[in-house]
């Protein structure tokens, strides 16, 4: 089932949660809605599910306009952020719920219900917990039950609202991988909301980065990471250094960005900004005649496992620069706080030149 969201606008009182949002979710894909709190991702998910209604715009399932259908009619599987397990029913009854409330005509016989629930219990590896109550389960177990419950009614679409948000790091990673594996087996169109960019990039087929009520960029994980369309996307998906400079020669939009010697900064040429990731900076002890390197002082060094993070201050502008270099390279340099180094950006991304990456 493909999902198509067109021109959705939603406001809560004076607060606009979604502003003319459009997004395409192809059949069978696992899509992540990624963004900071308040960007509207959960609202969008709920509108897709039918738990909220947009002020304007349409939602289509397989080309059919279902904007006015309620959640019940849309037959989506929804996994809530806090699981929303029925607290007075045990695990078995929770999973069986969707099947049991069907009307007489469409309800499967009890034996069939039991079989399906057992299948799902095996899938989520909780066969021995069937009689337990939600309050007796751990967070990760509850999450899996919530997922099984949503899958029991064989929905065409699976929607997950920050499914791993409340779990600790190790559990989160395990469940993340398990969700990906599940999707590879079942191939159900899935949309999940997260604020964790690592999660989105690792799990999803497609990532939609959202900010302030609209979609900044939608594409594959490689696309959004390597080819961010806006500074926000660049910044959200990793750390960033911003180098302000001027376009020295040629067209301001497409000319070469020079961020070197101080003299250039006052030259009256149009200003521009370049974005560089910390691990795309090379540190050297000598200038070696290269005019494009920047002189800086080492402020602080953080050694964190395989990387060394070096905090530098530019000599010319006084701005801070964050660099990440592999441990081996760092040991070769043997840097100390207070020393002078030269920083060379290996890849600079600009957003004002109108060029795709």
């Amino acid at each position: 089932m493909s999902i198509n969201v067109r021109n959705i606008t939603k406001a809560f009182g004076r607060y606009t949660a979604l502003q003319n949002v459009s997004l395409e979710i192809p059949d069978g894909q696992l899509v992540a809605l990624l963004g900071p709190s308040g960007c509207g991702k959960t609202t969008l998910l709920r509108i897709i599910s039918g738990l909220e209604f947009p002020d304007s715009g349409t939602v289509e399932f397989d080309g059919q306009n279902i904007t006015d259908q309620s959640a019940r009619e849309r037959r989506v599987g929804f996994v809530f952020q806090h699981y929303a397990l029925f607290r007075h029913m045990n695990v078995f009854e929770n999973i069986a719920f969707g099947l049991r409330v069907r009307s007489r005509a469409t309800r499967p016989p009890e034996a069939e219900i039991r079989r399906r629930v057992q299948e799902l219990l095996a899938l989520i590896q909780l066969e021995n917990q069937a009689r337990r109550y939600p309050s007796q389960l751990s967070g990760g177990q509850r999450q899996r039950v919530a997922l099984a419950r949503a899958l029991a009614v064989q929905p065409k679409v699976l929607l997950l609202d920050e499914p791993f948000g409340a779990l600790d790091a190790k559990v989160r990673m395990e469940l993340r991988r398990w969700l990906r594996k599940l999707h590879d087996e079942v191939h159900i169109t899935s949309v999940f909301v997260t604020h964790d960019q690592e999660e989105a990039l690792e799990v999803a087929d497609r990532v939609a980065v959202m900010n302030g009520g609209h979609v900044e960029q939608a594409g594959s994980p490689d696309e959004v990471y390597d080819c961010p369309a806006t500074p926000f996307v660049f910044d959200f998906l990793g750390k960033v250094n911003i180098f302000h400079g001027r376009v020295e020669s040629g067209d301001p939009a497409t000319g070469t960005l020079e961020i070197g010697a101080p003299g250039h900064l006052a030259s009256g040429r149009p200003p521009a900004a370049g974005y560089v990731r910390p691990h795309e900076l090379e540190l050297r002890r000598e200038r070696n005649g290269d005019a494009t390197v920047i002189e800086a002082t080492v402020l602080r060094i953080y050694k964190a496992g395989p990387l060394a993070r070096v905090e530098l201050r530019r000599r010319d502008t006084g701005e801070l620069v964050q660099a990440e270099i592999p441990r081996a390279a760092f040991q070769a340099l043997a840097l100390q706080p207070g020393e002078t180094v030269f920083v060379k950006p290996l890849a600079i991304r600009r957003f004002d030149d109108g060029m795709p990456c």
Binding site: A11, G50, L51, E52, F53, D55, S70, A71, R72
Partner: protein, 300 residues
């Protein structure tokens, strides 16, 4: 998009539930209440004022309000004490005592009335020793105050208890480490924290006591101008078919009740503001303290 009456929700049954609620309320509360005010307006301002300020009515206000004030004050002092003892100390049968605190809520007022009168009558369990000390309890203003103390007992205890239970031990430890004595810690650190809740309980006890009838009527003596409470005055006027007079005094009482209710709401806002948490804790109305304490997760 302008103000909607209701946010669109996918939960069903709103219309039905609200409709029935409003219907029921109108039938049971609004229509009868408006009849009261309508009847009063037929009275005319002068006569209304005359009745409401007559000597007999004033005497009854002095008794009703005065005794209620004293009773609420007693409950304030002892309520804080009882709440403290229940939360901080352990002693045999503590759980029994704790459950019994709500007795004045659950016990019918008439039962309380005859029980208290029998205890404090001149030949009663406590009346006899009091008489030998020259203290007349039953059929006097003292008796009224005692009955009103009984009625208001749970209020302060039940509003202060949760606050005490939530108090961070570290506050006291900090005070002690800074050199404060136990009494200083209590007056400077603990008391200000529980004061809003205590005063809220005081206001609730007062509000309840002012309108109290059943518990007081037996022990009061009911002599006009001396030991007649305002609700009794209303009933007496009714029995004399002085509907106008009864209504006038009832409206005066209603107005006072509203003012007290308002004060309680304001106090509760102040109380929750002081505590700083927007959590579900403050009992909004007089009887709410009889609500059971539902367990909460240990982790805050």
């Amino acid at each position: 998009m302008g103000i909607r009456f209701k946010q669109r929700s996918i939960l069903p049954g709103f219309g039905l539930a609200l409709g029935f609620t409003v219907f029921y309320l109108s039938l049971i509360v609004l229509i009868p209440l408006s009849a009261t005010f309508w009847k009063t307006s037929a009275l005319g301002w002068h006569q209304f004022w005359h009745v409401v300020t007559s000597a007999r009515a004033m005497a009854s206000y002095r008794l009703s309000f005065g005794a209620s004030l004293i009773a609420a004050a007693i409950n304030l002092a002892f309520g804080v004490l009882v709440a403290w003892v229940l939360v901080r100390y352990s002693f045999p049968l503590k759980r029994l005592f704790d459950s019994l605190i709500d007795l004045p809520f659950a016990l019918p007022t008439a039962v309380a009335g005859i029980a208290l009168t029998t205890i404090y009558a001149p030949n009663g369990w406590l009346g006899r020793p009091l008489e030998s000390l020259g203290v007349h309890a039953a059929y006097t203003r003292l008796g009224v105050t005692i009955a009103l103390t009984f009625i208001g007992l749970p209020f302060v205890v039940r509003t202060v208890q949760p606050v005490l239970e939530d108090l961070d031990k570290e506050l006291e430890e900090a005070a002690a480490s800074l050199g404060a004595g136990r009494w200083q810690t209590f007056t400077k650190v603990l008391l200000p924290t529980i004061l809003p809740a205590a005063i809220t309980g005081f206001a609730m006890a007062f509000g309840r006591a002012v309108g109290e009838y059943g518990s007081v009527i037996f022990i009061a003596g009911n002599m006009p101008m001396r030991t007649e409470i305002t609700p009794l005055l209303i009933i007496t006027k009714l029995q004399e078919y002085d509907y106008a007079g009864a209504t006038a005094i009832a409206v005066a009482m209603l107005i006072v009740s509203f003012v007290i209710l308002l004060a309680i709401n304001v106090l509760q806002k102040w109380s929750s503001g002081k505590r700083g948490s927007a959590d579900l804790r403050d009992a909004p109305g007089p009887e709410a303290t009889l609500r059971p304490a539902y367990g909460r997760e240990e982790a805050h």
